[in-house]
């Protein structure tokens, strides 16, 4: 009697357990897709700001692969599909938050590059002007220094 009761209880648990695992809903898929889109917008902006977005793009593609895997397995392994969608969403959210830092680094690097380029251009122009103004004088002094030991002899 007790064994039969246990078997019935186990069967009920199995039925309840199997009903608890339902396929991922379209809303869950839309949520993951939306997270990826938001992350992409942030990554694109970070790239425009000059940030190095290589690792972020790799992670975004990982998130997309998880969404596609979830889509393929949703009918056969719904619980795994849900896990994959959650992983994809959190991956995309992580990418989105990292993108702000990458954008900031890109802006700083671009500012430094701008300052370096402008400084280099100013130095080049300065050297050219100095060469134009003092070039003759410097050339003559160098010439004299080089040939100071020479003696001009009258030939013939």
């Amino acid at each position: 009697m007790r064994a039969a009761l246990l078997i019935v209880l186990f069967a009920v648990m199995l039925v309840v357990g199997s009903q608890g695992v339902s396929a991922a809903s379209p809303a869950t898929f839309n949520g993951a897709a939306s997270a990826v889109q938001n992350a992409f917008v942030a990554v694109q902006a970070a790239g425009r700001d000059g940030g190095n977005i290589s690792s972020l793009v790799v992670k975004l593609n990982d998130a997309l692969a998880l969404v596609q895997k979830a889509s393929a397995e949703n009918a056969t392994a719904p619980s795994q599909a849900l896990v994959d969608l959650q992983s994809a969403t959190s991956l995309a959210q992580g990418v989105q938050s990292s993108a702000a830092t990458v954008a900031q680094q890109g802006t700083s690097a671009r500012q430094l590059q701008l300052e370096l380029s402008v400084t280099a251009a100013a130095v080049i122009v300065g050297i050219a002007v100095a060469f134009y103004v003092y070039g003759d004088r410097i050339y003559r002094r160098l010439w004299l220094r080089m040939y100071r030991g020479q003696v001009v002899k009258k030939v013939g």
Binding site: G47, R48, I53, L64, A121, Y132
Partner: protein, 158 residues
């Protein structure tokens, strides 16, 4: 070398040096475009299947390239059509996709990946149409890029 020639040479050298110094901060100027291609089972532009049975699995490779001047979020939609299907550089085929794949590409990068496909409808001159769609950050939706590729297949009943 007379003085005028020297001044001219100095000016040319100065201009070139200044251009080299500011080159990294000049905005990139070029035509922006994306690429889509279908490769055969050997990842070459050859060896495409011409006859398959309904439900028979075969593998092709999709090539996507990004030269849009920034990161691109792409979708490749594979659609099964026939001779009557209308698709052009301005209009996508009005058919539901049998396969959708998504990828993000950095500027000046490309990707080649396999797709496993099978045909559902038997008939002569069936078409597998590959369309490239791109995410538009302003409208937050995917838009047809006008790029499509296709292979023609004779599909026999299994």
């Amino acid at each position: 070398m007379d003085r005028e020639t020297g001044v001219l040479a100095l000016a040319v050298v100065t201009i070139l040096a200044v251009l080299a110094a500011i080159y990294p901060i000049l905005p990139a100027n070029g035509e922006n475009f994306s690429e889509l291609g279908i490769l055969g089972p050997g990842q070459k532009i050859a060896g495409y299947p011409t006859t398959v049975a309904v439900g028979q699995q075969f593998t092709l490779y999709v090539y996507v390239g990004n030269h849009e001047g920034g990161a691109g979020y792409y979708q490749v939609l594979v659609k099964e059509g026939n001779q009557a299907t209308v698709v052009s550089n301005s209009t996508s085929a009005d058919l539901p996709p049998v396969l959708t794949s998504s990828l993000v590409l950095q500027d000046n990068s490309s990707s080649i990946y396999p797709v496993n496909l099978s045909m559902r409808t038997a008939g002569l001159n069936q078409r597998l149409i590959f369309e490239l769609w791109m995410f538009n950050s302003t409208t937050t939706s995917f838009a047809y890029t006008g790029l499509f590729a296709q292979i023609w297949l004779n599909v026999t009943a299994s």
